[in-house]
Symmetry: C2
Subunit: 486 residues, 2 copies
């Protein structure tokens, strides 16, 4: 060698390339030559402008046929690593815009450091994602797709998937689902964005939201050109009787399990809500985001089943499988189907046919049911451990929303306490959210902390609660001091 | 049996179930029991309300342990097929919203019948999609993803992919790409929709488009709240000097290969365009949709490399790999990065982490280059065959846009001839598009047909051209008659 690690541009000799060929390896000889040259260029060991040896010289040295070297050079030239010139040896190309820093270096793009204990709500257990079963379905989708299914298929989604979804939602959630009413989307955020844009084009300017409800959904509505209007929630759910005065033409609700309070919409309110929609012509957007995780009570069927022409039903795989799948769906009233397809077409064109075929296969084989059955047990145990630990570490504290979902609510006295508690918890390495973070203007409901157990393993829960309790005790001491003074 | 094919609700005997167990099969016995029961219910052979045999009776009959039957029943109950009641045998559940028609029945959801010969432009060859290599990358992505990468990762996209894209676009297209300027999207339609919504929020109401350019993109701009303004195209590309008078703050252009005319933006016009953007503060949206397919001339680098702060560069895998992948990207001026991330967050939340990791792996292994090198050869041969066949069957006809892309333009005398030709071709089983289908108001350029060769095999090309020529001869005869009369 004798050239040092990084070489200045010059005519490279065969020995400079440091290429070795192993005839026993899995990959062909051409690939070995290609890979070693590519790596040498990418790491900067072979510098821009250097001339490579001739194909003949390299082939002779490596004891391979000249064609192997010719093809390896051609591939690297096609990739832009080499410059091939008539009558001259190829040279290492100067690469525009090449990355200076290593791919994994920390920087502004990195995620915020992971907290020691993640008790944020809305996070499903990612370690339990059925990678093998999903891979099997991906393989099935990719191998059985007709060529045309790999092309421009447009909205509303692959028919096989819409059929399986209709079947699944019918039996699991009581949704009155016709495949022709199903539109496949990228997830619930996407579905809400599409619906909000569609109704906004129809002249709707105000959409009612449960207050509190997930902050991101408020931003989605705003981004789509509508104004989110908060409607209070009590122990029976959305206060439906406030809708007429709110001057809204649509309302987003999670009747089976309200986020973040955890309450279910009572039977009377369900009836009143569909009655409001029928009488006013308003649209109910039913966000059934995690209704399948319930532990102590019977499943509550979807509202949509009662009133399919008044309800746009929204669901996704984000909570049941993983937010990485990016498939969601809407089951729509007849008059919304075509506008939603058009909105999809002119904003994203279509979704991945391969992913859609994979989910169809996954549903068909009962894998989603199998996974959820397993996860219900996992989450129920975590929930029990969490509630026990909270009662033990913070005796006397009031918990609500424990029957379902992936988090419980620990009630506090004020929104100031919420702020103090979140900050103190962060200081103890515990990431947590408060109810008020999800409030819309006008919120005056119960303050509290949202303690999620989707993303934390069962053995870690008592340790996390110990840290959280330490943080909360400082807040509760301050409360005691305040009330002693008062 | 003695019960006929579909049985009315009653207490089923073991023999009614028609279950057989094969101990030599790949799948376990429980799965076999499950699958056969599920199929019997789905096909309607076991009707709603029927009681199944007890677990003990079925286990004894099948010579399997009782636990096998208990677990099979539990899985089917979880999937909603069976109703399990304390102290009674399970029964077949009535399924709400169950599909009446078979999944594959023809209906309004089916695609239009495939034409015998598909000569539409913009269709890549789907039969050549590298399914095995893509599956390998999917497997790699799925198996190497950190748990956190399966969760909420948000925009702008997985860093590994942004790094590989920046690298790839730098060397293959001369893009000045920093991973922090890259935003991953669902494809070029999605990218344009996001950019149009961002600039529309910034007060931009008019976006210039090349006239003609793809009709869908005009609808995307309209849907995003902006008005598309057509700017003529000549043999040097976009007539840049018309921009100032058009009162636009942004312009969409495909400088390397204009769709549908096939022209490239001349060097002078490139300079004038970036000059316009610098002087006016306007945004150039560079749609580099198929610049990598060129056959007779040197690759033309991206305009973005000349003027990164004036250009939003757009690309995707739709033409190079398949529209089924649904991954695209923007490389943005600094001031657009945060607004684009926000727009993504509040409209789709994020894209599939698995797909993004797969594409990163695919790029890293040089598979995209390998595929494109192969396809360039395939398409070049098709192009040659097509041009030969057109000269043979329609001597004297004028062709343009043959040097690159996936289609050629056959010039006609008028837009009436275009309409007649498309209709006549359809009558001969040939699907084809015209230039005017992609026109914006004010178009008075050359009329013609777009003859695509992405979706048709080489041996079929002469046959398709024969059919097309038969159709065109009727149109040309009409022209001759008209000019004889005149």
């Amino acid at each position: 060698m004798g050239q040092g690690d990084a070489m200045s541009p010059h005519s490279l000799q065969v020995r400079d390339l440091l290429i070795t060929v192993d005839r026993g390896m899995r990959y062909g000889i051409q690939r070995q030559v290609e890979t070693q040259l590519r790596n040498a260029i990418r790491t900067g060991r072979l510098t821009a402008g250097s001339d490579l040896p001739s194909t003949r010289a390299l082939a002779e040295d490596l004891l391979v046929s000249r064609g192997v070297v010719v093809r390896a050079y051609a591939q690297l030239a096609a990739e832009g690593y080499l410059e091939v010139r008539q009558g001259a040896n190829p040279s290492v190309r100067r690469i525009r815009g090449e990355i200076k820093r290593p791919p994994r270096a920390p920087g502004p793009l990195e995620l915020v450091p992971k907290p020691r204990y993640d008790l944020r709500p809305h996070q499903p257990d990612l370690g339990s994602f059925p990678r093998q079963a999903w891979l099997r379905s991906l393989r099935h989708g990719l191998q059985t797709a007709a060529n045309s299914e790999l092309g421009y298929i447009g909205p509303p989604g692959v028919e096989q998937l819409r059929v399986e979804l209709a079947r699944y939602l019918g039996r699991a959630r009581g949704v009155a689902a016709d495949p022709e009413r199903v539109v496949v989307t990228l997830g619930s955020t996407h579905t809400l964005s599409l619906i909000a844009r569609v109704v906004s084009r129809g002249g709707v300017t105000r959409i009612a939201f449960e207050n509190p409800s997930h902050w991101l959904l408020h931003n989605v509505a705003t981004s789509a050109g509508t104004t989110p209007i908060g409607i209070p929630v009590d122990e029976d759910g959305l206060q439906v009787d406030e809708l007429p005065a709110a001057g809204v033409a649509a309302v987003l609700t999670s009747p089976a399990h309200q986020f973040p309070t955890g309450v279910a919409l009572s039977a009377d309110r369900r009836a009143a809500l569909t009655q409001w929609a029928r009488a006013s012509g308003g649209l109910i957007i039913e966000d059934d985001y995690d209704a399948e995780f319930r532990y102590d009570r019977a499943p509550i069927g979807a509202l949509q089943g009662l009133s399919p022409e008044q309800v746009a039903y929204i669901g996704s795989t984000s909570k049941t499988l993983s937010p990485a799948i990016r498939l969601g769906w809407a089951v729509l009233p007849a008059d919304l189907v075509t506008p939603m397809r058009d909105e999809l077409l002119t904003s994203v064109l279509q979704l991945s046919g391969i992913d859609q075929l994979a989910l169809a296969d996954f549903l068909r084989r009962g894998e989603l049911d199998r996974h959820m059955r397993r996860m219900r047990t996992v989450y129920r145990h975590r929930r029990n451990t969490l509630v026990e630990a909270l009662h033990r570490e913070l005796p006397g504290s009031a918990l609500s929303g424990v029957a379902a979902g992936l988090h419980v609510v620990l009630e506090l006295a004020s929104s100031d306490e919420e702020l103090d508690a979140c900050a103190a918890a962060e200081g103890q390495g515990v990431a947590i959210q408060s109810l008020s973070q999800h409030a819309l203007p006008g919120y005056d409901g119960q303050p509290g902390l949202l303690i999620g157990y989707g993303a934390i393993s069962e053995p870690a829960i008592p340790l996390a609660v110990k840290q959280l309790a330490a943080a909360l005790r400082t807040v509760l001491r301050a409360r005691a001091t305040r009330s002693a003074r008062a």
